[in-house]
């Protein structure tokens, strides 16, 4: 049975179709989930895609976290389901308290869309297990608010628990400790600012993003439990 991926669409999400295509091209069955729903369909993976949910008005992710679907997303994660937030999705996860910290404006006060190198710090998560520690992945960023911050004790805890999954090789946005992506202590919730779905085809410049997507699909219960 193919892994089943649910991509949540908030009003103003705009990378949902790209995320769907990237997962579908890797063999997943993909379903789109409107933010107004109160329940999730039967899926192995939930994706909060990039974009500008609710226009990013007030603060990125601030309004989206109150969407009706978010209770179901939280329960899904609490039950151990794989949940990934990409860019705006990461911002929503932080606002919702599903991941620690907050995303501030880039230090250069400019929107940045460019290719960056990411170092895999933890390759034993369901999101990175197709990589090896220290691998460098070339994946684009695309954000104005990607400058991650957390209180010192929170950062210490993340480090102690190996929750920092990806770091920028050359920090583009001022993010604390070069953090590009983090996971929760249980390793089933992952947020990152870069866009792995944009790096799944050589024609578009890199296939390194597929390393992350493939890790996720290989870890999904449908596949893992298949005979």
């Amino acid at each position: 049975m193919n892994p089943r991926v649910g991509v949540v669409v908030f009003p103003g999400s705009n990378c949902d179709l790209d995320a769907q295509k990237a997962f579908r091209d890797l063999g997943a069955d993909v379903v789109s989930v409107w933010h107004d729903e109160e329940t999730l369909p039967e899926v192995d993976v939930v994706v909060l895609p990039g974009g500008f949910a609710h226009g990013d008005y007030l603060r990125t992710g601030a309004i989206a976290r109150f969407s009706p679907i978010m209770d179901a997303v939280r329960s899904f994660a609490d039950a151990g389901g794989l949940l990934i937030g990409i860019c705006n999705g990461f911002q929503i996860l932080c606002e919702a308290g599903l991941l620690p910290g907050a995303l501030r404006k880039n230090a250069g006060l400019k929107f940045l869309c460019k290719w960056v190198d990411l170092r895999v710090e933890n390759a034993s998560t369901p999101f990175t297990n197709a990589a090896s520690p220290g691998d460098v992945l070339r994946i684009p960023i695309n954000h104005f608010e990607g400058n991650w911050y957390a209180e010192p004790d929170v950062l210490d805890e993340l480090k102690a628990n190996d929750q920092i999954v990806l770091r920028y090789v050359d920090n583009p946005n001022g993010s604390l400790d070069d953090v590009a992506g983090i996971c929760n202590p249980e390793r089933n919730v992952f947020g990152l600012m870069p866009h792995p779905e944009r790096a799944c085809e050589a024609l578009l410049g890199s296939t390194d993003g597929a390393v992350i997507l493939r890790s996720i699909l290989a870890s999904s219960p449908s596949l893992v439990s298949a005979p």
């Binding site: 601030a62 309004i63 911050y149």
Partner: protein, 82 residues
Amino acid sequence: MTKFDAVVNVLLKPGISDPQGQTIERALPALGYEGVQGVRVGKHIELSVEASSEEEAYARIQEMCERLLANPVIESYEVTVS
């Protein structure tokens, strides 16, 4: 129920870097405004709420700030009810 007008000012917490404030602070001397310090950029939100008392209005807005209007990880806020 009475209608209370209120103002919420949201600022980055002290100690959190404020690149907008720093940029403005750097730009002002170039325009001849010397001696400007401590520029901080935040959000000013105006709203009116219905409540039975000023205290209740204040408490409700306080709750809105905690839940939505500010992000307690990086922002502090200040509520004024009139």
